[in-house]
């Protein structure tokens, strides 16, 4: 819609950009952005405006304000990964996906907040502080929350965004941008998408280039797409997907961007409901929503069957071994010598490395490095790493079998519950939380499959709940088509954000939500 508006001249890119920048300022308390690139964004908007003036926009994304998670390299703009290790680090190059967005004329507003080095499921463990879920400030949430004796219960009651791409999810959810890039290794795009009521797409591994994405687990990471509707996600996917010679794990085949058809007849569809996803800890609300969704498909004529992915319960442990091993390896380059933080300790190389890494990394990162190195020791390699790889193969095969038996798409919950208040979340440590929260999203990363969170409804507390569709490798078109149909059916409500502007007048935000 916004794209059409730009084309028709009803709004200009500069106006759009300025509005978003202003909104970012008003919503600063959300802590969604680490860096706001005001100057460059306005310049990009200006350029875009010129193109529209000539009647030559680069495409649907021309002039559209976007945000990018702070673990993607952006030339000239700080990239920190929310870590002391990279504070002040200005990369000389753009990640491929960033470059592609810019090449399409998108306006890069800034870098969004995350868990340090994308390790976490709450976006609470970065050095710039936690991200607040915009829904904490929504009328829907406030109406449902128990009145507190505290007068500013907003301050103590706010809920988390989920993670680790919480900043991106919050940015999209609060209308400060129209699309954002996240990353997804164990659910890091889908989890915050569910908690923030936005669409979160994890593409098939190998479809989108990882060049420039600071890696967590190279064999599972993918760039994730966060938007307010499924059509938008398809547009962004179209701009980003395709072979990149700089990333040897991208597929060679030509990718053709597609427009999503408006599906009306789902009778030929076979939806699988994996029973193992009825995980311990799954809230009854979500269970009920999941069930209703299944019925929705059934009533519309689709075939809905229960399926089994028997190795699901091993995925957490398997993920833990493989993830920490790769983390230990990927973090080895942070030694303070050429970039990033360097300690003042200078007695010897080793002591400098050690001090730099202790000062630069938080506990979560250090913990994973130690675990990972342990698993990679010669005496442990066979029993842990190799075994985990074998289990990974089994998990992936579960999906192959199920899809091979005629199921087109799987329908599962995305999270175990709606967003918890920050004060409650931090009572458990990062590792425990990650292990709990990743259970529903992780297996898709293990198997490299595409998956998408579609906001489905509001919980009793007035917070978003989403459901997840998992598709077959490189069948994003089918996945998104089904997701779009579902999105239409559920009519997820728009957030009624109550935000105090800096001139201290409250206002409600109900602008057009999407750009396509």
């Amino acid at each position: 819609q916004v794209s059409a508006a730009l084309k028709e001249g009803r709004v200009t890119p500069t106006e759009l950009c300025q509005r978003c920048l202003s909104l970012i300022k008003s919503t600063k308390f959300l802590n969604a952005y680490i860096t706001v690139a005001e100057e460059t964004a306005l310049k990009q908007a200006e350029e875009s405006e010129k193109r529209y003036g000539r009647g030559q926009p680069l495409g649907v994304l021309d002039g559209i304000p976007v945000a990018v998670k702070d673990n993607f390299n952006t030339a000239g703009i700080e990239t920190t990964c929310a870590s002391n290790m990279l504070k002040g680090y200005i990369s000389p190059y753009n990640a491929t996906v960033v470059q592609k967005l810019l090449d399409q004329g998108a306006v890069l507003l800034g870098k969004t907040n995350l868990d340090e080095f994308a390790m976490g499921s709450g976006s609470t463990d970065g050095v710039f502080g936690p991200v607040r879920n915009p829904w904490s400030y929504s009328r829907q949430y406030k109406e449902k929350s128990v009145p507190n004796s505290h007068s500013d219960d907003e301050e103590s009651n706010w809920v988390i965004t989920g993670g680790s791409s919480g900043g991106s999810a919050a940015a999209v959810s609060s209308f400060t941008c129209f699309a954002a890039l996240g990353s997804d290794t164990g659910g890091s795009t889908r989890n915050p998408a569910a908690h923030c009521g936005v669409v979160g797409l994890k593409p098939t591994y190998g479809l989108i280039s990882r060049h420039g994405l600071i890696p967590l687990v190279n064999s599972m990471d993918v760039p994730g797409i966060l938007t307010r509707c499924v059509d938008d996600a398809a547009v962004v996917l179209g701009a980003l997907a395709g072979h990149d010679p700089k990333d040897s794990t991208t597929i060679q085949d030509n990718f053709k961007p597609f427009e999503l058809p408006n599906l009306t007849d789902v009778s030929k569809l076979s939806i699988g409901i994996p029973k193992e996803y009825h995980a311990p800890g799954l809230s009854s609300e979500i269970l009920s929503l999941w069930s209703k969704a299944a019925d929705l498909f059934k009533n519309a004529g689709a075939k809905v069957i229960e399926v089994s992915l028997p190795h699901t319960r091993y995925s957490i442990v398997c993920y833990h071994v493989l993830c920490t091993a790769e983390v230990a390896s990927n973090m080895a380059r942070f030694d303070g010598l050429e970039y990033g933080h360097r300690s003042d300790m200078n007695k010897s190389t080793e002591s400098m490395y050690a001090a730099t890494r202790r000062e630069g990394f938080n506990d979560v990162v250090r913990g994973r490095i130690l675990s990972g190195n342990y698993f990679l020791l010669k005496q442990n390699y066979e029993n842990y790493f190799i075994k985990a790889q074998k289990v990974r193969r089994l998990i992936a095969n579960d999906f192959v079998k199920v899809f091979g038996s005629g199921v087109d798409i799987l329908l599962t919950p995305t999270t175990l519950s709606d967003a918890v208040p920050y004060m409650e979340f931090i009572k458990e440590d990062n590792r425990t939380r990650s292990a709990q929260d990743d259970i529903l999203t992780q297996a898709a990363n293990m198997a490299g499959l595409p998956a998408i969170n579609v906001p489905t409804g509001l919980s009793e507390r007035g917070l978003p709940v989403g459901l997840q569709f998992i598709g077959q490798s490189f069948q994003e078109k089918q996945l998104l088509t089904v997701a779009k149909w579902f999105e239409k059916q559920v009519e997820f409500p728009k957030i009624q954000l109550e935000v105090k502007r800096h001139d201290h007048s409250a206002f409600q935000h109900q602008k057009s939500a999407s750009f396509s």
Partner: protein
């Protein structure tokens, strides 16, 4: 005592771009000037395999009679060191690109070029590896790192190389040196590496141990920091000796790494690596298995530009040094040891062949001029064949004059000496200038001979009395008279004829 020597040779692959990223490689460039994003291990960059390097490794593998693994894998080898910015090195620990080959090399027995013997060393494997950058420090690591500013710290020319592992089939420094020399020639012939040790394109580490015949192999040490083939022989021999002495004195050999000190000519223990390192090998997740094809396995619809075809490469292998040498011997009738010298000197074979083409002199004779006169002159003045002031054309001209008997061989040497000055004169011009032509006029020669005979009554009598040796004096006198412009053979004939009259 039986010494046992194995080698690990790291050859920098010569190509326009490096193994995993797009940077140019140049020796001794200012620090960080040739660093691409991947080299500096900037976060978020990914390794990309360079097709040219894969081809280079396949070529080398084929030339060394190896089996090429159609599927090979890449791993990460982790350790922390200043010249390893990523904290790990990408290598092929599990399944390298080529295995089980052999290299034949020759060496002279007793330093006499006339007796050459051929030996073989087994090639265990060839693996593709990412090289680490050179650090700017030597021993005082900590000091260097702190004193220099960050930009200058790591001369981060991440280069790529092939590691060629030679089994411990060699027994002394000479063999090791000969094997490396032959490998160097092969690499240069293939073009897969320029393999110049002085420029860091070829690095050799030697594994040395000794044992008594019939017993198990002894503990081995690794010797590093060897900067030339000559030093390789010295280092190996020194280490063998050191180990023998140590053991004979009742000591033990530690499984350690030692550095060769070229100034002192000995090996010294290197910095302690703090016990055995666990490299925590892990598959490199960003590089899928490397698949190579041959004519049989190549899928029909695949773009041949995108794949590496082993058979295609095999068909295009140039003649290896051993083949080249055999051809030279057969074609020109020169001795095998001559062919070695020809190949050992850059451009010399070509020079030789050019001269042969342009002269009537037989190659067997030409080779003498090439190896004795030309080469020794070049060596004396530290010149390469390319830099020779005497071109093949000039030399051919000169040899033609000699062949046509227009000058004597002594005169020819004189002319050559003039040619070295590089003043642009042709041999003919020099001959005319210095009046070095052989006297062609028989009568004139006879007159001079007669004159000498007439002037040396005593000597003539002695000769007629049977003392042949005095004839040489007469020949010498004639030579002096003619200022060397007479053929000694002809003079002798004439004198003898006259004296017998």
């Amino acid at each position: 005592w039986v010494p046992v020597v194995g080698l690990e040779i790291h050859a920098q692959i010569s190509s326009n771009s490096k193994l995993f990223s797009g940077s140019q490689v140049q020796f001794a460039a200012p620090p960080n000037s040739l660093v691409s994003f991947f080299d500096a291990s900037l976060p978020g960059t990914l390794p990309v395999l360079n097709r040219r390097c894969v081809e280079a490794a396949v070529m080398t593998g084929l030339a060394l009679n190896c089996s090429i693994n159609k599927k090979s894998l890449f791993d990460r080898k982790h350790y922390f060191y200043a010249d390893l910015p990523a904290g790990y090195q990408i290598t092929q620990q599990r399944v390298p690109i080529a295995v089980n080959g052999s290299l034949s090399y020759s060496l002279c027995i007793d330093n006499k070029m006339s007796q050459m013997v051929t030996k073989t060393v087994r090639i265990k494997q060839i693996q593709l590896e990412q090289d680490s950058g050179k650090s700017l420090h030597d021993d005082t690591r900590s000091q260097t790192l702190v004193d220099l500013n960050r930009a200058a710290i790591v001369e981060n020319l991440l280069s790529l190389y092939m590691e060629v592992v030679m089994e411990p089939d060699m027994c002394c420094g000479e063999e090791a040196a000969a094997a490396v020399r032959e490998l160097q020639l092969i690499l240069q012939t293939l073009g897969s590496s320029q393999a110049v040790m002085a420029e860091g394109q070829l690095r050799v580490d030697a594994n040395v141990s000794v044992h008594h015949p019939g017993e198990h192999y002894g503990v081995r040490t690794e010797v590093k920091n060897i900067n030339s083939i000559r030093f390789l022989a010295k280092a190996v021999d020194y280490e063998i000796q050191r180990q023998i002495e140590e053991l004979e004195n009742g000591g033990t050999i530690l499984n350690e790494t030692r550095a060769f000190d070229s100034k002192l000519g000995c090996t010294v223990p290197m910095r302690d690596k703090e016990g055995k390192q666990d490299y925590r090998f892990m598959p490199e997740p960003n590089l899928p298995p490397l698949i190579l094809y041959d004519a049989k396995s190549l899928p029909a619809n695949m773009n041949h530009q995108q794949v590496v075809n082993i058979d295609w490469i095999h068909e295009r292998l140039p003649d290896l040094p051993s083949v080249k040498r055999a051809k030279l011997v057969e074609q020109y009738g020169i001795l095998p040891e001559h062919s070695f010298t020809l190949l050992n000197e850059d451009g010399l074979t070509e020079f030789f062949e050019n001269v042969v083409k342009q002269t009537q002199m037989k190659p067997k004779k030409v080779i003498g001029w090439i190896l004795n006169d030309l080469l020794s002159y070049l060596k004396q003045h530290s010149l390469t064949v390319e830099e020779s002031p005497v071109s093949s054309v000039l030399l051919a001209d000169l040899l033609n004059l000699l062949e046509k008997k227009e000058i004597s061989s002594t005169a020819a040497k004189q002319v050559l000496a003039e040619l070295w000055k590089g003043e642009g004169k042709t041999p003919l011009e020099i001959v005319k200038e210095k009046k070095l032509e052989l006297i062609q006029d028989q009568k004139e020669l006879e007159q001079i001979c007669q004159a000498v005979i007439d002037g040396q009554e005593n000597e003539v009598m002695a000769i007629k009395a049977g003392n042949q040796k005095v004839l040489n004096k007469l020949i010498g006198l004639v030579q002096r008279e003619t200022q060397g412009r007479s053929s000694p053979v002809l003079v002798k004939q004439l004198l003898e004829k006259k004296l017998s009259e």
